[in-house]
Symmetry: C2
Subunit: 199 residues, 2 copies
Protein backbone atom coordinates (compact mmCIF):
# COMPACT_ATOMS: atom_id res chain seq x y z
CA UNK A 1 0.00 0.00 0.00
CA UNK A 2 2.75 2.43 0.92
CA UNK A 3 5.63 1.24 -1.25
CA UNK A 4 5.72 4.75 -2.66
CA UNK A 5 6.65 6.20 0.72
CA UNK A 6 9.61 4.00 1.54
CA UNK A 7 12.11 6.71 2.49
CA UNK A 8 9.45 8.53 4.51
CA UNK A 9 8.47 5.29 6.26
CA UNK A 10 12.09 4.49 7.07
CA UNK A 11 12.74 7.95 8.50
CA UNK A 12 9.46 7.89 10.41
CA UNK A 13 10.27 4.52 11.89
CA UNK A 14 13.71 5.71 13.06
CA UNK A 15 12.36 8.97 14.47
CA UNK A 16 9.57 7.22 16.37
CA UNK A 17 12.22 5.33 18.38
CA UNK A 18 13.20 8.58 20.10
CA UNK A 19 11.69 9.12 23.55
CA UNK A 20 8.49 11.16 23.55
CA UNK A 21 7.87 10.79 19.83
CA UNK A 22 4.88 8.67 18.80
CA UNK A 23 4.14 7.51 15.26
CA UNK A 24 2.03 10.57 14.37
CA UNK A 25 4.66 13.01 15.67
CA UNK A 26 7.36 11.13 13.76
CA UNK A 27 5.33 11.38 10.53
CA UNK A 28 4.85 15.11 11.10
CA UNK A 29 8.58 15.61 11.68
CA UNK A 30 9.41 13.63 8.52
CA UNK A 31 7.13 15.78 6.39
CA UNK A 32 8.46 18.91 8.06
CA UNK A 33 12.00 17.84 7.16
CA UNK A 34 10.85 17.15 3.60
CA UNK A 35 9.27 20.61 3.36
CA UNK A 36 12.36 22.27 4.80
CA UNK A 37 15.64 23.01 3.03
CA UNK A 38 17.57 19.84 2.18
CA UNK A 39 20.66 21.53 3.70
CA UNK A 40 19.02 21.17 7.10
CA UNK A 41 18.48 17.42 6.67
CA UNK A 42 22.11 17.11 5.50
CA UNK A 43 23.49 19.05 8.46
CA UNK A 44 21.45 17.03 10.95
CA UNK A 45 22.40 13.78 9.22
CA UNK A 46 26.11 14.55 9.24
CA UNK A 47 26.02 15.65 12.84
CA UNK A 48 24.33 12.38 13.82
CA UNK A 49 26.83 10.23 11.93
CA UNK A 50 29.81 11.98 13.53
CA UNK A 51 28.14 12.21 16.94
CA UNK A 52 29.35 9.10 18.77
CA UNK A 53 32.80 9.43 17.21
CA UNK A 54 33.34 12.99 18.41
CA UNK A 55 32.09 12.54 21.98
CA UNK A 56 34.18 10.60 24.50
CA UNK A 57 34.40 10.47 28.28
CA UNK A 58 36.92 12.54 30.23
CA UNK A 59 39.40 10.11 31.80
CA UNK A 60 39.52 12.22 34.95
CA UNK A 61 35.95 13.32 35.75
CA UNK A 62 33.96 11.05 33.40
CA UNK A 63 31.92 13.81 31.71
CA UNK A 64 31.20 13.93 27.97
CA UNK A 65 33.90 15.78 26.07
CA UNK A 66 35.53 16.17 22.68
CA UNK A 67 39.02 16.42 24.21
CA UNK A 68 40.62 14.52 27.10
CA UNK A 69 40.98 15.85 29.77
CA UNK A 70 37.78 17.83 29.32
CA UNK A 71 37.93 21.65 29.20
CA UNK A 72 36.63 21.82 32.79
CA UNK A 73 39.37 19.54 34.18
CA UNK A 74 41.95 21.35 32.01
CA UNK A 75 40.85 24.86 33.04
CA UNK A 76 43.34 26.43 35.50
CA UNK A 77 40.75 29.11 36.28
CA UNK A 78 38.47 26.64 38.02
CA UNK A 79 38.73 25.56 41.63
CA UNK A 80 40.30 22.09 41.48
CA UNK A 81 39.96 21.60 45.24
CA UNK A 82 36.16 21.24 45.06
CA UNK A 83 34.57 18.22 43.41
CA UNK A 84 30.86 18.09 42.55
CA UNK A 85 29.79 14.43 42.42
CA UNK A 86 26.92 13.67 40.00
CA UNK A 87 25.10 10.56 38.90
CA UNK A 88 25.29 10.89 35.11
CA UNK A 89 27.60 12.62 32.62
CA UNK A 90 24.74 14.81 31.36
CA UNK A 91 24.21 16.20 34.87
CA UNK A 92 27.48 18.12 34.38
CA UNK A 93 25.74 20.10 31.64
CA UNK A 94 22.70 20.96 33.74
CA UNK A 95 24.93 22.26 36.54
CA UNK A 96 27.18 24.17 34.11
CA UNK A 97 24.11 25.83 32.61
CA UNK A 98 23.25 27.27 36.04
CA UNK A 99 26.70 29.02 36.09
CA UNK A 100 26.67 28.64 39.87
CA UNK A 101 29.58 26.26 40.34
CA UNK A 102 33.25 26.97 39.53
CA UNK A 103 34.84 23.77 40.82
CA UNK A 104 35.35 20.43 39.07
CA UNK A 105 33.18 17.36 38.63
CA UNK A 106 33.14 13.63 39.23
CA UNK A 107 30.62 11.43 37.42
CA UNK A 108 29.56 8.24 39.26
CA UNK A 109 27.87 6.60 36.25
CA UNK A 110 24.86 5.57 38.31
CA UNK A 111 23.56 5.29 41.86
CA UNK A 112 23.72 2.42 44.32
CA UNK A 113 20.64 0.21 43.80
CA UNK A 114 21.22 -3.28 45.24
CA UNK A 115 17.86 -4.61 43.99
CA UNK A 116 18.93 -3.83 40.40
CA UNK A 117 22.37 -5.30 41.04
CA UNK A 118 24.12 -1.92 41.08
CA UNK A 119 26.60 -2.27 43.94
CA UNK A 120 29.21 0.40 44.86
CA UNK A 121 31.96 -1.42 42.95
CA UNK A 122 30.04 -0.90 39.68
CA UNK A 123 30.19 2.88 40.10
CA UNK A 124 33.15 5.27 39.79
CA UNK A 125 33.44 5.53 43.59
CA UNK A 126 36.93 3.97 43.65
CA UNK A 127 38.09 6.63 41.19
CA UNK A 128 36.56 9.29 43.45
CA UNK A 129 38.52 8.00 46.46
CA UNK A 130 41.75 7.95 44.40
CA UNK A 131 41.16 11.52 43.25
CA UNK A 132 40.54 12.70 46.81
CA UNK A 133 43.81 11.06 47.90
CA UNK A 134 45.85 12.32 44.97
CA UNK A 135 44.44 15.71 43.99
CA UNK A 136 44.42 17.73 47.20
CA UNK A 137 40.62 17.99 47.34
CA UNK A 138 39.20 20.28 50.02
CA UNK A 139 35.45 19.72 49.54
CA UNK A 140 33.21 17.12 47.93
CA UNK A 141 29.69 18.27 47.03
CA UNK A 142 27.28 15.34 46.64
CA UNK A 143 24.87 16.45 43.90
CA UNK A 144 22.97 13.26 43.28
CA UNK A 145 19.21 13.60 42.89
CA UNK A 146 17.34 13.56 46.23
CA UNK A 147 15.82 10.12 45.66
CA UNK A 148 16.19 6.92 47.70
CA UNK A 149 19.09 5.78 45.53
CA UNK A 150 20.68 9.23 45.58
CA UNK A 151 20.47 9.44 49.38
CA UNK A 152 21.78 5.87 49.76
CA UNK A 153 24.74 6.66 47.53
CA UNK A 154 25.42 9.94 49.38
CA UNK A 155 25.38 8.09 52.70
CA UNK A 156 27.73 5.42 51.36
CA UNK A 157 30.22 7.97 50.05
CA UNK A 158 30.00 9.94 53.31
CA UNK A 159 30.87 6.74 55.24
CA UNK A 160 33.87 5.71 53.17
CA UNK A 161 35.25 9.28 53.29
CA UNK A 162 34.63 9.91 57.00
CA UNK A 163 38.26 9.31 57.97
CA UNK A 164 39.64 11.64 55.32
CA UNK A 165 39.93 15.34 56.16
CA UNK A 166 37.84 16.39 53.16
CA UNK A 167 34.65 18.35 53.80
CA UNK A 168 31.55 16.58 52.49
CA UNK A 169 28.43 18.54 51.60
CA UNK A 170 25.13 17.68 49.95
CA UNK A 171 23.05 19.95 47.71
CA UNK A 172 20.52 21.79 49.87
CA UNK A 173 16.77 21.82 49.72
CA UNK A 174 15.34 23.79 46.87
CA UNK A 175 15.19 20.64 44.81
CA UNK A 176 11.82 18.96 45.39
CA UNK A 177 12.11 15.44 46.85
CA UNK A 178 11.81 12.81 44.11
CA UNK A 179 12.79 15.40 41.49
CA UNK A 180 15.48 15.21 38.84
CA UNK A 181 18.43 17.55 38.17
CA UNK A 182 17.46 17.64 34.51
CA UNK A 183 14.18 19.43 35.11
CA UNK A 184 15.16 21.90 37.82
CA UNK A 185 15.05 25.57 36.86
CA UNK A 186 18.23 27.58 37.12
CA UNK A 187 17.25 29.63 40.16
CA UNK A 188 16.24 26.60 42.18
CA UNK A 189 19.50 24.91 41.29
CA UNK A 190 21.43 28.04 42.30
CA UNK A 191 19.67 28.05 45.66
CA UNK A 192 20.59 24.40 46.18
CA UNK A 193 24.25 25.23 45.61
CA UNK A 194 24.21 28.25 47.93
CA UNK A 195 22.37 26.45 50.74
CA UNK A 196 24.27 23.18 50.60
CA UNK A 197 24.54 21.59 54.05
CA UNK A 198 27.55 20.00 55.69
CA UNK A 199 27.08 16.28 56.39
CA UNK B 1 31.76 27.46 29.55
CA UNK B 2 30.46 24.63 27.43
CA UNK B 3 33.27 24.27 24.90
CA UNK B 4 33.52 20.64 26.00
CA UNK B 5 30.02 19.94 24.72
CA UNK B 6 30.36 21.23 21.19
CA UNK B 7 28.98 18.23 19.30
CA UNK B 8 26.11 17.94 21.77
CA UNK B 9 25.37 21.65 21.44
CA UNK B 10 25.39 21.46 17.66
CA UNK B 11 23.05 18.45 17.59
CA UNK B 12 20.79 20.06 20.20
CA UNK B 13 20.60 23.27 18.22
CA UNK B 14 19.64 21.40 15.03
CA UNK B 15 17.08 19.22 16.81
CA UNK B 16 15.44 22.20 18.51
CA UNK B 17 14.55 23.59 15.07
CA UNK B 18 12.07 20.76 14.59
CA UNK B 19 8.44 21.63 15.32
CA UNK B 20 7.30 20.79 18.84
CA UNK B 21 10.83 20.39 20.22
CA UNK B 22 12.03 23.00 22.69
CA UNK B 23 15.59 23.35 23.94
CA UNK B 24 15.14 20.98 26.92
CA UNK B 25 13.53 18.28 24.76
CA UNK B 26 16.32 18.64 22.21
CA UNK B 27 18.96 18.22 24.94
CA UNK B 28 17.16 15.11 26.21
CA UNK B 29 17.02 13.64 22.71
CA UNK B 30 20.72 14.35 22.16
CA UNK B 31 21.69 12.55 25.36
CA UNK B 32 19.33 9.72 24.54
CA UNK B 33 21.04 9.34 21.14
CA UNK B 34 24.42 9.41 22.89
CA UNK B 35 23.32 6.69 25.32
CA UNK B 36 21.88 4.56 22.51
CA UNK B 37 23.81 2.38 20.08
CA UNK B 38 25.90 4.45 17.64
CA UNK B 39 24.38 2.32 14.85
CA UNK B 40 21.09 4.06 15.47
CA UNK B 41 22.61 7.55 15.09
CA UNK B 42 24.34 6.36 11.90
CA UNK B 43 21.15 4.93 10.40
CA UNK B 44 19.17 8.06 11.21
CA UNK B 45 21.96 10.28 9.87
CA UNK B 46 22.26 8.40 6.60
CA UNK B 47 18.50 8.36 6.11
CA UNK B 48 18.38 12.13 6.61
CA UNK B 49 21.22 12.80 4.17
CA UNK B 50 19.62 10.67 1.45
CA UNK B 51 16.10 11.88 2.27
CA UNK B 52 15.52 14.78 -0.12
CA UNK B 53 17.38 12.98 -2.89
CA UNK B 54 15.22 9.87 -2.74
CA UNK B 55 11.83 11.59 -2.54
CA UNK B 56 10.37 13.28 -5.63
CA UNK B 57 6.88 14.28 -6.74
CA UNK B 58 4.75 12.04 -8.98
CA UNK B 59 4.39 13.84 -12.32
CA UNK B 60 0.81 12.64 -12.59
CA UNK B 61 -0.81 13.02 -9.15
CA UNK B 62 1.80 15.17 -7.36
CA UNK B 63 2.26 12.90 -4.33
CA UNK B 64 5.63 12.10 -2.73
CA UNK B 65 7.24 9.05 -4.31
CA UNK B 66 10.55 7.31 -4.92
CA UNK B 67 9.52 6.30 -8.49
CA UNK B 68 7.62 8.24 -11.17
CA UNK B 69 4.75 7.58 -11.75
CA UNK B 70 4.12 6.72 -8.11
CA UNK B 71 3.05 3.17 -7.19
CA UNK B 72 -0.55 4.31 -6.77
CA UNK B 73 -0.78 5.84 -10.26
CA UNK B 74 1.07 2.81 -11.69
CA UNK B 75 -1.13 0.23 -9.93
CA UNK B 76 -3.57 -1.42 -12.40
CA UNK B 77 -5.50 -2.82 -9.44
CA UNK B 78 -6.70 0.63 -8.39
CA UNK B 79 -9.74 2.43 -9.77
CA UNK B 80 -8.30 5.02 -12.12
CA UNK B 81 -11.72 6.53 -12.82
CA UNK B 82 -12.00 8.07 -9.34
CA UNK B 83 -9.73 10.93 -8.28
CA UNK B 84 -9.41 12.04 -4.69
CA UNK B 85 -8.32 15.70 -4.64
CA UNK B 86 -6.22 16.74 -1.63
CA UNK B 87 -4.47 19.90 -0.50
CA UNK B 88 -0.98 18.59 0.27
CA UNK B 89 1.15 15.64 -0.82
CA UNK B 90 1.25 14.25 2.73
CA UNK B 91 -2.57 14.05 2.80
CA UNK B 92 -2.24 11.10 0.37
CA UNK B 93 -0.55 9.17 3.16
CA UNK B 94 -3.19 9.93 5.76
CA UNK B 95 -5.92 8.70 3.38
CA UNK B 96 -3.90 5.62 2.36
CA UNK B 97 -3.46 4.74 6.03
CA UNK B 98 -7.26 4.56 6.43
CA UNK B 99 -7.36 1.84 3.69
CA UNK B 100 -10.79 3.14 2.72
CA UNK B 101 -10.08 4.48 -0.75
CA UNK B 102 -8.98 2.43 -3.77
CA UNK B 103 -8.99 5.13 -6.45
CA UNK B 104 -6.24 7.57 -7.42
CA UNK B 105 -5.17 10.99 -6.12
CA UNK B 106 -4.59 14.53 -7.25
CA UNK B 107 -2.57 16.92 -5.08
CA UNK B 108 -3.46 20.62 -5.39
CA UNK B 109 -0.36 21.94 -3.54
CA UNK B 110 -2.43 24.37 -1.51
CA UNK B 111 -5.87 25.93 -1.20
CA UNK B 112 -7.26 29.12 -2.70
CA UNK B 113 -6.51 32.01 -0.32
CA UNK B 114 -6.73 35.36 -2.14
CA UNK B 115 -5.62 37.35 0.91
CA UNK B 116 -2.36 35.40 0.96
CA UNK B 117 -1.98 35.77 -2.80
CA UNK B 118 -2.81 32.11 -3.51
CA UNK B 119 -5.03 32.34 -6.59
CA UNK B 120 -6.35 29.27 -8.50
CA UNK B 121 -3.60 29.56 -11.14
CA UNK B 122 -0.95 28.90 -8.44
CA UNK B 123 -2.49 25.51 -7.63
CA UNK B 124 -2.51 22.28 -9.67
CA UNK B 125 -6.12 22.90 -10.77
CA UNK B 126 -5.21 23.19 -14.47
CA UNK B 127 -3.54 19.76 -14.25
CA UNK B 128 -6.71 18.41 -12.61
CA UNK B 129 -8.86 19.69 -15.50
CA UNK B 130 -6.44 18.15 -18.04
CA UNK B 131 -6.56 14.80 -16.26
CA UNK B 132 -10.36 14.82 -16.17
CA UNK B 133 -10.39 15.51 -19.93
CA UNK B 134 -7.74 12.97 -20.82
CA UNK B 135 -8.06 10.09 -18.35
CA UNK B 136 -11.73 9.06 -18.52
CA UNK B 137 -12.47 10.12 -14.94
CA UNK B 138 -15.92 9.20 -13.60
CA UNK B 139 -15.83 10.80 -10.16
CA UNK B 140 -13.84 13.50 -8.38
CA UNK B 141 -13.85 13.39 -4.57
CA UNK B 142 -12.94 16.75 -3.05
CA UNK B 143 -11.05 15.84 0.14
CA UNK B 144 -9.74 19.24 1.19
CA UNK B 145 -10.02 20.06 4.88
CA UNK B 146 -13.42 21.54 5.85
CA UNK B 147 -12.03 25.04 6.46
CA UNK B 148 -12.93 28.33 4.76
CA UNK B 149 -10.11 27.88 2.25
CA UNK B 150 -11.00 24.22 1.69
CA UNK B 151 -14.66 25.03 1.06
CA UNK B 152 -13.73 27.95 -1.22
CA UNK B 153 -11.44 25.71 -3.26
CA UNK B 154 -14.09 22.97 -3.43
CA UNK B 155 -16.67 25.50 -4.66
CA UNK B 156 -14.24 26.82 -7.28
CA UNK B 157 -13.44 23.34 -8.61
CA UNK B 158 -17.14 22.45 -8.62
CA UNK B 159 -17.85 25.53 -10.76
CA UNK B 160 -15.15 25.00 -13.36
CA UNK B 161 -16.16 21.32 -13.71
CA UNK B 162 -19.93 21.84 -13.82
CA UNK B 163 -20.14 21.45 -17.61
CA UNK B 164 -18.16 18.19 -17.64
CA UNK B 165 -20.06 14.94 -17.07
CA UNK B 166 -17.86 13.95 -14.13
CA UNK B 167 -19.54 13.37 -10.78
CA UNK B 168 -18.21 15.69 -8.05
CA UNK B 169 -18.42 14.70 -4.40
CA UNK B 170 -17.08 16.17 -1.17
CA UNK B 171 -15.98 14.21 1.92
CA UNK B 172 -18.93 13.92 4.27
CA UNK B 173 -19.29 15.13 7.80
CA UNK B 174 -17.51 13.06 10.37
CA UNK B 175 -14.61 15.45 10.11
CA UNK B 176 -15.10 18.22 12.66
CA UNK B 177 -15.37 21.69 11.08
CA UNK B 178 -12.04 23.51 11.29
CA UNK B 179 -10.21 20.17 11.67
CA UNK B 180 -7.27 18.82 9.75
CA UNK B 181 -6.91 15.56 7.78
CA UNK B 182 -3.67 14.88 9.57
CA UNK B 183 -5.27 14.50 12.98
CA UNK B 184 -8.45 12.62 12.11
CA UNK B 185 -8.67 9.08 13.47
CA UNK B 186 -9.07 6.24 10.99
CA UNK B 187 -12.71 5.45 11.76
CA UNK B 188 -13.84 9.05 11.38
CA UNK B 189 -11.98 9.29 8.09
CA UNK B 190 -13.64 6.04 6.92
CA UNK B 191 -17.05 7.46 7.78
CA UNK B 192 -16.28 10.59 5.80
CA UNK B 193 -15.49 8.49 2.73
CA UNK B 194 -18.61 6.34 3.05
CA UNK B 195 -20.97 9.26 3.66
CA UNK B 196 -19.54 11.58 1.01
CA UNK B 197 -22.26 13.79 -0.47
CA UNK B 198 -22.89 14.65 -4.11
CA UNK B 199 -22.48 18.36 -4.88
Amino acid sequence: MNENLNAIDRLTSLLSKLPGLGKKSAVRLAYHILDADSAYAHALGEELIAFHGSIRRCSRCGSFTESDPCPICADPGRDHSILCVVERAQDVRFIEDSREFRGCFHVLDGLIAPLEGITPDKLRIGELVSRIRGENIREVILAMNPTVEGDTTALYIQKILKDSDVEITRLASGMPVGGDLEYIDRLTLSRSFRGRIKL
